[in-house]
């Protein structure tokens, strides 16, 4: 029985891996057989690829790095501040987290246009810094951390930043890694924002590149898909442990 479950699981995990494996396979495969020509075409002949890849790296890293302090402070506030309407405010964040992008895309666009941020990297980066997912996850995690450490740190210093730095962040390590990985993967996966908010080709991202890669010369389609997933794959390999331990969401309010 146990063996049977084992075999079924082995096969099932194979099914889940199959799309990625097939993408890698096809990146080396063309009519004649196996070749790395696609990669050669992409890396040496397709110069649009580099700025777009770099843009993806830039946007995703900038958003992730800028979002972490905002999220940590916000979760800290939600956990420790006492004021009326805190519960409702948190529910508001949860609902916001669940809204599809398209709901506010129009006024977002108009707002960014009024600020002169359309067709600049800021139009992509700024709104994403405040996406509420990280705050919600981190607050859930922070609720269960040891508060006596914070009380102790408060006796030592009156600066709230020192308290957070010394007593909160060490406890949150796993959760911070998990949120960072998740946010980075989300930003890496952005399609709508670069498509709608950017018109300049030099500012667009790899997602856009791949969706148009069919029109470039050479078999660059599958190689670009593989290269696009390598950075997140590496991050996942490094931080998957945190991802599994740092994301806990259950009772909401």
């Amino acid at each position: 029985m146990k063996k049977l479950i084992g075999i079924i699981f082995f096969l099932l995990s194979g099914v889940f891996l199959l799309p990625v494996a097939a993408t890698v396979f096809f990146s080396f495969y063309s009519e004649g057989g196996f070749t790395a020509d696609g990669y050669k075409d992409l890396l040496f002949d397709c110069f649009v690829f580099y700025p777009m890849f770099w843009n993806s790296v830039l946007y995703a890293s900038a958003i992730t790095l800028a979002q972490l302090p905002v999220v940590i402070l916000c979760a800290f506030g939600f956990t420790w501040a006492k004021f009326r309407g805190k519960g409702i405010l948190f529910i508001f964040y949860i609902i916001l987290m669940m809204m599809p992008l398209q709901v506010t895309i129009l006024p977002n666009y108009i707002g960014l246009r009024d600020m002169g941020l359309v067709n600049t990297p800021w139009g992509i980066i700024l709104p994403m810094i405040f996406s509420p997912f990280g705050a919600v996850v981190m607050h859930q995690y922070m609720k269960n951390t040891d508060s006596s450490v914070i009380e102790a740190a408060r006796l030592e210093t009156s600066s709230i930043f020192r308290v957070i730095l010394v007593s909160v962040i060490p406890q949150l390590r796993v959760c911070i890694f998990a949120v960072a990985l998740f946010v980075f993967a989300e930003c890496w996966n952005m399609v709508e924002q670069p498509m709608l908010f950017l018109t300049d080709k030099n500012l667009k991202t790899m997602s856009v590149f791949i969706s148009e890669a069919g029109s470039y010369t050479g078999a660059v389609l599958f190689p670009s898909a593989v290269i696009f997933l390598i950075p997140v794959l590496l991050l996942y390999l490094f931080f998957s442990d945190s991802l599994e331990k740092g994301l806990t969401l259950g009772e909401l309010s």
Partner: protein
């Protein structure tokens, strides 16, 4: 005494101030835009700006593409969400209580969570391009969204204290009763949350379909609410977009509030 009270107050104020950056950003990029959407849904067009009450809503609710999109979005929920949840429950149960080496397969189930859609839509396209059906889209959704559920569910399963099991087993409880009385109540809130999250993610499925078909006009069976909104954005039809955005967010608001009420009622 008075000094201490003042200090306490200032700590609380500092804590509240910690919320400020996030609140300001949320206000600027989410709350204010949303109010604008509501406003746009109530006027005739953005130049004349006459209030027309619920006319736009009547138009949208009788628009055949909106209804098609709504139907497709709801169908996606009804069919895919149960599949995702049941699959995730089975997988995380086995991962939490099964044989040791099976646990190594977990990375394979979670991996799709971080894989960018653009990379994977290609293979989907090459394999399924000849099928005129919505099933490939469903498969893509299930493939991508089971991982996060497994992460959250296994966290919940492993949070069950083994000492509780031991105690109950000493009292003579069988495996079934054990799980019914201990595991289920502890895991239930997470199951609720994960269901809610998956429903909501089904409303976010746009890039999957867009990249799979590579067009703004997918076949009828894959035309979802996000497409309706996206295309009205491209057509600069502000009123239709705003109205459907408000209706969609009302629907999501209802689902979230309903889900949370259910969670409160059955998990305590």
């Amino acid at each position: 005494m008075k000094v201490k009270r003042k200090k306490h107050l200032s700590w609380n104020v500092k804590c509240i101030l910690c919320l400020a950056p996030s609140l300001l950003g949320t206000l600027a990029f989410f709350a204010a835009p949303f109010i604008r959407v509501v406003y746009y849904s109530l006027i005739d067009n953005q130049f004349r700006r006459n209030f027309v009450g619920f006319d736009n809503y009547m138009d949208t609710l009788t628009n055949k593409y909106f209804l098609l999109a709504l139907k497709n979005s709801l169908l996606l929920i009804v069919i895919c969400v149960p599949i995702v949840i049941i699959l995730a429950l089975i997988i995380s149960l086995v991962l939490s209580y099964g044989i040791k080496w099976i646990r190594k397969t977990r990375a394979a189930f979670v991996l799709p969570l971080v894989i960018p859609t653009a990379s994977i839509a290609l293979i989907w396209h090459s394999v399924f391009a000849s099928f005129d059906s919505v099933i490939p889209v469903y498969l893509l959704f299930i493939w991508k969204n089971t991982g996060i559920c497994i992460v959250l569910l296994t966290a919940a399963f492993t949070a069950v204290d083994p000492a509780l099991f031991e105690a109950a087993r000493l009292d003579g409880a069988g495996t079934f009763t054990l799980h019914k009385k201990i595991t289920v109540p502890i895991v239930m809130p997470t199951v609720f949350f994960v269901s809610l999250l998956t429903i909501v993610n089904s409303f976010k499925i746009f890039k999957e379909i867009y990249l799979y078909y590579g067009t703004n006009y997918p076949p009828d069976h894959s035309y979802t609410l996000q497409y309706y909104m996206n295309n009205n954005f491209l057509k600069l039809d502000y009123q239709s977009l705003a109205t459907s955005a408000v209706l969609t967010s009302l629907l999501i608001f209802g689902i979230v509030m309903g889900g949370m009420a259910l969670q409160k009622r059955y998990c305590q």
